[in-house]
C-alpha cells in the first residue's frame, strides 16, 4: 500500500482524497457563514460551538490544516515533476483547442487561493487563536455579547478586503470547476456517471464561492 501512494496513480488518489476533504470543509464553512445573513444569534452560537468544541478544535482542526498543507505541497510536487516530464517546450502550443483554462492552470488558481488563505489567517484565524489560547479568553464574549458576528461585520467594512475576497472566491470557483470532477476521475469514479458528476461539479463550483461572496458583499452593504 505504501508503494501505491508513491506511484503516479497513487499520488493522484492522494490529491483527490485531500480535495474531497477540503470540499467537504467548504460546505461546512459556508453553512456557518450563511447563517450570518439572517440570524446574528445563530451565527454566534455556531461560531462559538465551532471555536470551543474540543473535538473540532483538537481533532478536526489539525486534520484540516494537514489537509490544506498536504494538498498544496503535493500540488507543487506534482507540478515540478510534470514540468520535468515535459522536456523541451513547444514553440507553438494551442492548449485552448483541447482543454479548459481552468484545467491547465490549477497551479495558478491554487497559488491565488494560497495567498488568500494567508490573508484569511491574518484576518480571522490568528486573532482567534490569540484570543483563545494566548490571552486565554475562551468565553467568546465581548462587552457582554458574543463577539463573532461583530468581528465578521467589522472586517467587511473595508472595500479593499471585500474586493480581495471576491477575486479570491472567483479563483476558487475556477479551481473547483476543474477540481471537483477531476477528483472523482482520479478516484476512478466516473463510469456511467460522468454527466451527473459534471453537473454537480458545475453547481458546486458556482454555489460555494458565490455563497462566500454573498456573505462578504451583504455585510459590506448592510452595515
Amino acid at each position: 500500500m505504501s508503494g501505491f501512494f508513491k506511484s503516479s496513480v497513487g499520488r493522484k488518489v492522494a490529491m483527490a482524497l485531500s480535495a474531497f476533504f477540503l470540499m467537504f470543509f467548504l460546505i461546512i464553512h459556508l453553512a456557518v457563514n450563511i447563517t450570518s445573513l439572517f440570524s446574528e444569534n445563530l451565527f454566534n452560537e455556531m461560531s462559538h460551538f465551532m471555536g470551543t468544541n474540543p473535538l473540532i478544535q483538537f481533532a478536526l482542526q489539525p486534520v484540516l490544516i494537514f489537509g490544506v498543507v498536504f494538498h498544496f505541497v503535493m500540488g507543487f510536487v506534482l507540478e515540478l515533476k510534470n514540468k520535468k516530464a515535459n522536456g523541451v517546450a513547444y514553440v507553438r502550443n494551442n492548449g485552448a483547442a483541447n482543454s479548459t483554462w481552468m484545467s491547465r492552470n490549477m497551479i495558478y488558481s491554487g497559488l491565488a487561493i494560497l495567498a488568500f488563505i494567508a490573508l484569511h489567517f491574518i484576518d480571522f484565524w490568528i486573532p482567534e487563536l490569540n484570543t483563545k489560547y494566548v490571552v486565554g479568553d475562551m468565553s467568546g464574549m465581548h462587552d457582554g455579547n458574543f463577539r463573532y458576528y461583530h468581528e465578521l461585520v467589522e472586517k467587511f467594512h473595508n472595500p479593499a478586503r471585500v474586493v480581495a475576497y471576491v477575486v479570491a472566491f472567483v479563483l476558487l470557483g475556477l479551481h473547483l470547476a476543474h477540481g471537483f470532477t477531476s477528483a472523482f476521475q482520479s478516484m476512478g469514479i466516473t463510469a456511467g456517471r460522468k454527466k451527473t458528476l459534471q453537473s454537480i461539479g458545475k453547481a458546486y463550483s458556482i454555489i460555494i464561492p458565490l455563497g462566500f461572496v454573498i456573505v462578504a458583499v451583504f455585510h459590506f452593504f448592510n452595515h
Binding site: 488518489v13 516530464a85 482543454s99 479548459t100 469514479i189
Partner: protein
Amino acid sequence: MNLTLKIWRQKDSKAKGQMVDYKVTDISEHMSFLEMMDVLNEQLVNTGEEPVAFDHDCREGICGMCSLYINGEAHGPDRGITTCQLHMRMFKDGDTITIEPWRAAAFPVIKDLIVDRMAFERIQQAGGFISVNTSGNTQDANSLPISKIAADEAMDAATCIGCGACVATCKNSSAMLFVGAKVSQYALLPQGQVEAPERVKNMVAQMDLEGFGNCTNTGACEVECPKGITLENIARMNRELMKANI
C-alpha cells in the same frame, strides 16, 4: 495554395535543434498533409539539401507511426485522425504552419521530427499481455462467452495505435491515456482477470520509471486522440490499481 512552413530541424539526438522556415507553392487542397511534406522534401532533395525526416508508414491512420505537432496541436487541427489523414483543405493560402516533433522527456528526438517512443514498448513488455502459450491447444473460442458490451468496450480500448499524441498534447507529458487503454483492454475481458493485479501494478510502475508526468485530468488527450480513446480508460486504470493494492 502557397504556404510558409516553420519546421524543427535537428541533426541527431545530441545536436541542438532549431526552427527553420521553408516555402512550398502550388499545394492542392486535396493533398494529405504528408503529401505536402513529400513535396517539400522532393524540393529539398532537388536543391541538394537533406530532406526533413518524419515518421510515417501506413498513411491510412492505423500504424501510429506519424506524429507531428502541427500549429500547436497533436496531429493538427482536425479531430479523430492522424497526421497522415489530415488534408490540406484544413489550411488556407498564405498560412504559416508550425511543425514540431512530439515533446516529452520520455520521447527524445532522434532526428528532425522523429522521436523515440520506445518507452511505450517497455510499458507493454512490463505486462501488456495475457500469459498464454501460442500452442493452439487452448479451449475452443466459443467455450467462453463474453458479453457483447464487454467485448465492444475492450475493442474500443484496444483501438489505441500507440502514436503518442496523448503524451505530446498533455501539459504534464503523462502517458496515462495510453497505459489506461492497454490496461482496460485486458481488464474488461475475462481472459485478462487472472493476471490483472500484477499487470496494472507492473505497467504503472514502468510508466513512472520512464519519466512520464502525472495526469491532472485536463482531458486534452481525449480530445486529440485520433482513435477516440476516452478518459474512462484512465479512471478504470486508477480503479484497477486501487483494487490491486487492497
